[in-house]
């Protein structure tokens, strides 16, 4: 099923992401996804997230699909040139994977293979353009595809709490112009900034899912503030995480905070995307508390 169908039905669309392991045994990932994520619309699979080498996104998507889940194939431009990207897109179509999240990707310098060559032959916008072209039955080199052209729901990301939000909006507009169907955002901890962002972003007429990370500890929040672009956890939230260490450790405080953010953002967007970062087991409780 294409995620765009759920948006068209007017659903508040819930997705969550899973990260493939650094190894080829995937049973644990599949088990967690089946147990905790089977009730939601679709499951994102990250593509060598943070430039750390892992099991492939496409293979994991196929395994999830075989288990009856709806995968979203995340595809970055960091590791593949335009030939490899298009080839993987056709492979996805062959497996019946219909949902894409198309990204530029983190730089190789951020990951665990710092000596690797960063590719960036295409970027997020030209990758969307490329998919659009494949859907018209022509590859980026201008050659006709053989047989049926693939059809995808084409997603992209945007960073609503970025300190350069105007440049982000300009990029979002280019993604829409290139053919993007829906957006998932970087994690939001400042609902008021997200709401201001949506006031400007709604003109593009594309569904937006607010990005949510469940904060695990005050230390994690501070780490994100210092190191992760587009994320700022306010001081009072860090205080809240510090207040009752046991409660925070059990995930209760983090889930309360995340549920509150979802509730505040919900009237302004079309869905939520949860990046549980290993806390997939907390997703059902989070959704319950958020009233979804």
């Amino acid at each position: 099923m294409k995620i765009t169908e759920a948006f068209e039905r007017g659903e508040f669309v819930v997705t969550a992401e899973v990260g493939p392991p650094k190894g080829f045994h995937i049973e644990h990932v599949l088990e967690e996804a089946k147990t905790y994520l089977s009730g939601i619309t679709a499951v994102n699979v990250t593509d060598n997230q943070s430039s750390v080498m892992r099991l492939g996104s496409l293979a994991t998507c196929k395994a999830l699909k075989d288990e009856g889940l709806t995968p979203i194939f995340q595809l970055t431009c960091r590791d593949r040139n335009r030939i490899a990207l298009q080839s993987d897109l056709l492979s996805a179509a062959m497996f019946g994977i219909e949902n894409l999240l198309l990204l530029t990707g983190d730089h190789t310098k951020l990951g665990d293979h710092k000596a690797a060559k960063p590719v960036f032959d295409l970027d997020s916008v030209s990758l969307i353009h490329t998919v659009k072209q494949l859907e018209a039955g022509v590859d980026l080199g201008g050659n006709d595809l053989v047989g049926e052209a693939p059809k995808f729901a084409k997603g992209a990301v945007v960073s609503p709490c970025s300190d350069s939000v105007d440049a982000q909006l300009a990029k979002m507009e280019r993604k829409v112009a290139a053919g993007c169907d829906y957006f998932q955002t970087q994690a939001v901890f400042e609902p008021e900034k997200f709401i201001q962002f949506m006031e400007k972003a709604k003109q593009f007429g594309k569904p937006v899912q607010v990005g949510i990370i469940i904060p695990k500890s005050a230390g994690m929040a501070k780490f994100m503030n210092n190191n992760v672009a587009g994320i700022h956890v306010p001081d009072e939230m860090i205080e809240e995480l510090k207040k009752d260490k046991e409660k925070t450790k059990a995930g209760i405080t983090g889930v309360e905070i995340a549920a509150r953010i979802i509730k505040e953002c919900r009237p302004y967007c079309q869905g939520v995307h949860i990046m549980a970062l290993g806390w997939e087991s907390k997703v059902p409780e989070l959704l319950k508390q958020a009233g979804i």
């Binding site: 951020l110 970027d123 350069s164 112009a177 672009a229």
Partner: protein
């Protein structure tokens, strides 16, 4: 050695259309092949239209001090112009754009590399000689060299406090580009069609 090649005539004419322009030619560098005859012919056509406020043919505009000195004598002509059209390699265009902060500065040439001895690119190395100059879409700041991912369609999500995710000392190139386009009233340049890079640099590509 570097080769600068004139952009397509229609491209240059459309850059100058409806504007008063000041023209800068750089012919200093002995290692650069400069399309002198074609430039002269084109500039004559532009001048005949009556919209050229002044022309200067000089050398080494890539050297900021030298460039400032040369432009000083043409201050009023530059002030009278809506835009400055630069016939030089990518380094020269960026040096002029950096100096004339409030002016629209356009590149009239694409810069191609040629194997062998590389020409004089003094001070900051900020032209990659990619052969498809983007400076007219990016306010005279090169996205190939100013962005660590060489993105040509806008900012990625990796900028924090205006700095690049790769190097906390390096300013985000696309933030610089956005700021500059806002400053010269050219944010509409961001609405250009999706750019797909051409790595086959032997092809003639003009923007």
């Amino acid at each position: 050695m570097l080769i600068t090649q004139l952009k397509a005539k229609e491209t240059i004419v459309s850059l100058a259309a409806g504007k008063k322009v000041f023209i800068i030619n750089c012919q200093g560098c002995k290692e650069v092949h400069f399309p002198e005859a074609e430039v002269k012919e084109l500039e004559k056509e532009l001048a005949d239209s009556g919209n050229v406020t002044g022309t200067i043919t000089t050398d080494y505009i890539c050297n900021p001090e030298n460039m400032k000195l040369r432009l000083e004598k043409h201050k009023s002509e530059i002030e009278a112009a809506d835009a400055v059209l630069v016939f030089s390699c990518g380094v020269g265009v960026q040096t002029v754009a950096g100096y004339l902060e409030d002016k629209k500065v356009y590149a009239a040439c694409d810069t191609y590399p040629l194997p062998g001895f590389q020409g004089v690119t003094p001070l900051e190395y900020n032209c990659d000689q990619c052969g498809e100059c983007y400076l007219n879409l990016t306010g005279g700041i090169c996205p190939i060299t100013a962005c660590s991912k060489s993105l040509v369609n806008g900012q990625c999500g990796g900028s924090k406090n205006g700095k690049c995710e790769v190097d906390s000392e390096m300013e985000c190139g696309w933030e610089r580009i956005y700021r500059r386009l806002a400053q010269v009233g050219r944010l509409d340049a961001l609405k250009c069609p999706t750019q797909v890079r051409n790595f086959a640099t032997d092809d003639e590509v003009s923007k």
